[in-house]
C-alpha cells in the first residue's frame, strides 16, 4: 500500500514569527557565546572594510584631482587690440548657445593689461617697455571652458564656424592648437587612471571578500559538529543555517560601525596631507560630508558579505 509522504509531516504549525524570533535568538546567543570566533571574524571583516573604504576614498581623491586638472584646460580666443568690444560680446552671446560650452569668461583689454602688469610687476624691463609704449598693446580675449576635456574639438569646430572668427581682422589667435597635444594626453591619462582606479577597487574588494569568506568558513568549520548534531535531531535547513546568517549579519554590522569609527581619526590625520598634496581635496571633509552614504554603503555591504559568506560556508555541512 502506498502512503502519501504528507503523513510524515506532523501537524506542526510553527508560526513564521516564532520561527524568525528563534533563529534571531539562536544567532545572537551564538555570537555571544563564541566570543573568540566572533572577535576574530569581526577584526578581519573590519580590516577588509577599511581597505575597501580607503580605496573608495582614494578613488574620490583621484577623481577630484583629475577634475581639477581638466578644469584648468581652456581654449582662448585672442582678439586684435582694435576689435570693437561689441563684436566680442556678440560672439560671446552666440557661443553661449553651444551645448558643449560650460562657461565663457570675457577678459577686456583693460583687464588683460592689469593682469599683465600684475604678473610682471617685478620685471623692470617689461615695466619700462610698457611705460615707453604709453598705450595698452594688449587685445581682449575670451576664455572658453567645455564640460569635458574631450569636448574641446567640438567647441573649436563651433568657434570656427562663427563669421567674426573667420574674419581674421578681429581674431589674432586661437590657442587650441597649441594645447591640443596636452588636452589629448590629459584625456588619455584620465581614462587610464580612472580605469586602473576602478580595477584596483574591484580587485581588492574581491580579495577582501575572499578573506572574509575564508574566515567565515573557519568559524563555521568550528561549528561543524554542532551542525551535524542539529541535523540528526531533526533540525530543518533554515534552523541550522538561519542562526549563522544572523551571526554573519551581526559581524557585518559591527565591522561597518567599527570601520566608520576608525576612519574618523584616520581621515582626520590623512586629510591635511591629501589637501596639500592633491590640491584642494580634503579627505576628512569628504568623509564628514558623506558620513551617511559611506555608513549605509559599509553597513549594507557588510551585512550582505556576512550573510553570503555564511550561506556559502554552511552549504557544505547541510548535505547529509
Amino acid at each position: 500500500m502506498m502512503v502519501d509522504i504528507t503523513i510524515l509531516k506532523r501537524n506542526n504549525i510553527m508560526s513564521l514569527r516564532l520561527d524568525i524570533q528563534r533563529i534571531f535568538r539562536e544567532g545572537l546567543i551564538g555570537f555571544w557565546r563564541n566570543k573568540l570566533v566572533s572577535f576574530s571574524t569581526v577584526v578581519i571583516m573590519t580590516m577588509a572594510m577599511m581597505v575597501m573604504s580607503s580605496l573608495l576614498f582614494m578613488n574620490a581623491i583621484l577623481d577630484s584631482s583629475l577634475s581639477q586638472l581638466q578644469d584648468r584646460v581652456d581654449v582662448n580666443i585672442y582678439f586684435f587690440p582694435d576689435t570693437p568690444e561689441v563684436e566680442i560680446l556678440a560672439l560671446q552671446d552666440r557661443l553661449n548657445l553651444v551645448p558643449e560650452i560650460r562657461d565663457i569668461q570675457y577678459v577686456s583689454r583693460e583687464q588683460a593689461f592689469v593682469n599683465f602688469q600684475e604678473r610682471y610687476q617685478n620685471d623692470d624691463l617689461i615695466k619700462r617697455s610698457l611705460e615707453e609704449l604709453g598705450d595698452n598693446p594688449l587685445g581682449a580675449s575670451l576664455n572658453i571652458r567645455a564640460f569635458e576635456s574631450t569636448q574641446y574639438e567640438a567647441v573649436v569646430a563651433a568657434i570656427e564656424l562663427e563669421p567674426a572668427v573667420v574674419n581674421s581682422d578681429f581674431v589674432e589667435r586661437i590657442n587650441y592648437y597649441d594645447n591640443k597635444t596636452i588636452i589629448d594626453r590629459l584625456n588619455e591619462f584620465s581614462s587610464i587612471v580612472r580605469l586602473v582606479g576602478y580595477a584596483i577597487v574591484i580587485f581588492f574588494s574581491i580579495v577582501s571578500l575572499l578573506v572574509v569568506l575564508s574566515t567565515m568558513r573557519i568559524a563555521i568549520f568550528a561549528a561543524k559538529k554542532q551542525i551535524r548534531i542539529k541535523r540528526l535531531v531533526g533540525a530543518e535547513h533554515r534552523y541550522v543555517r538561519g542562526p549563522f546568517l544572523v551571526m554573519g549579519g551581526i559581524y557585518g554590522f559591527i565591522s561597518a560601525a567599527l570601520s566608520m569609527i576608525a576612519l574618523y581619526p584616520m581621515t582626520h590625520w590623512v586629510g591635511s596631507y591629501t589637501a596639500s598634496f592633491f590640491g584642494g581635496m580634503n579627505i576628512f571633509e569628504y568623509y564628514v560630508n558623506n558620513l551617511i552614504p559611506v555608513f549605509l554603503f559599509l553597513v549594507t555591504s557588510g551585512i550582505i558579505i556576512g550573510i553570503i559568506s555564511s550561506r556559502i560556508a554552511t552549504t557544505k555541512y547541510l548535505k547529509t
Partner: protein, 230 residues
C-alpha cells in the same frame, strides 16, 4: 512499522558492515539489539536514522522507503525519532535546559509548552538542578541522562537508544530501563542496543542478536544468552 528488506551496507574499504538483513519491528514493540562490538548494530541504527544509505535493499518506516525521502523531508522524519547516541551528541554551546528545549523547538512547540515540559523531563532523569549547566560541566552519566531527556521529550514514534547505560551504575541503569519501559507503555516503539547483560536480562523483551553483520538470533526470550545455549 519498520521493515529492513534485504539490507546490506558495505563501505569503500569493502568491509561489509550489514549483510542482507531482513527485519520487521511492529509499532509499539520494544526490541533489544545485542551483539559484540563491530557486529553492525550501530550501522543498522544509522541506516534507520538515514545517517547512512544502504548499499542494497531498502528500509521502510510506515511503508515509506526512508532513503528515498527528499532532503527537505528528512528533518521531518527525524523529528519523529528520539535518539540516545552512544557518544551523546549534545550541543556543547547550549545549556542543559536549551539542549532539551532545542528538540521541542524543532517540532514547533510553543515557549510556554517548553517552559513546562523541559523541567519535567529533567526531573525525570534527575537533572532538575543542572538546567543552567553546559554539557562539559556534567559527568558522563549526567550527559547520558541529558541525552535521554532530549530523546523522549517529544514522545517520539520511535526511540533509538544506543548503549544508553554505558556510563551508568546498576541502579541508574535500572532507572533508564524503567524510563524506556514507561515511554514504550505510552506507545513509542523502542530499539535498545546494548552490551549490558543485566539490562538485557531485566528487559524480558524481544532480543535480536547481530554477529558479523547478520542477524543470528531473533526471539522473545528476553535473556542475554539463547535458552538452548544456557
Amino acid at each position: 512499522m519498520i521493515v529492513f528488506d534485504k539490507v546490506s551496507k558495505s563501505y569503500e574499504s569493502k568491509k561489509i558492515s550489514v549483510h542482507a538483513v531482513d527485519l520487521k519491528i511492529k509499532k509499539g514493540e520494544f526490541v533489544v539489539l545485542i551483539g559484540p562490538s563491530g557486529a553492525g548494530k550501530t550501522t543498522l541504527l544509522k541506516l534507520l536514522l538515514t545517517e547512512e544509505k544502504p548499499t542494497t535493499g531498502a528500509v521502510y518506516f510506515d511503508t515509506i522507503n526512508i532513503h528515498n525521502l527528499r532532503s527537505g523531508d528528512v528533518p521531518k522524519y527525524r523529528q519523529r525519532i528520539g535518539v540516545v547516541f552512544q557518544d551523546y551528541k549534545l550541543l556543547e554551546e547550549k545549556t542543559v535546559f536549551e539542549n532539551v528545549a532545542f528538540a521541542m523547538e524543532m517540532v514547533g512547540k510553543s515557549d510556554s509548552e517548553i517552559r513546562v515540559d523541559v523541567p519535567y523531563a529533567l526531573e525525570l532523569v534527575g537533572l532538575e538542578n543542572k538546567g543552567y549547566n553546559f554539557p562539559d560541566q556534567l559527568s558522563g552519566g549526567e550527559q547520558q541522562r541529558l541525552a535521554i531527556a532530549r530523546a523522549i521529550i517529544n514522545q517520539p514514534d520511535l526511540l533509538i537508544a544506543d548503549e544508553p547505560t554505558g556510563s551508568l551504575d546498576p541502579e541508574a541503569s535500572a532507572n533508564v530501563l524503567n524510563i524506556l519501559n514507561k515511554i514504550n507503555d505510552l506507545g513509542t516503539t523502542v530499539i535498545l542496543a546494548t552490551h549490558d547483560r543485566d539490562v538485557v536480562d531485566a528487559s524480558k523483551r524481544r532480543i535480536i542478536k547481530m554477529e558479523h553483520g547478520r542477524i543470528t538470533r531473533d526471539d522473545n526470550d528476553g535473556g542475554y544468552h539463547h535458552p538452548k545455549k544456557k
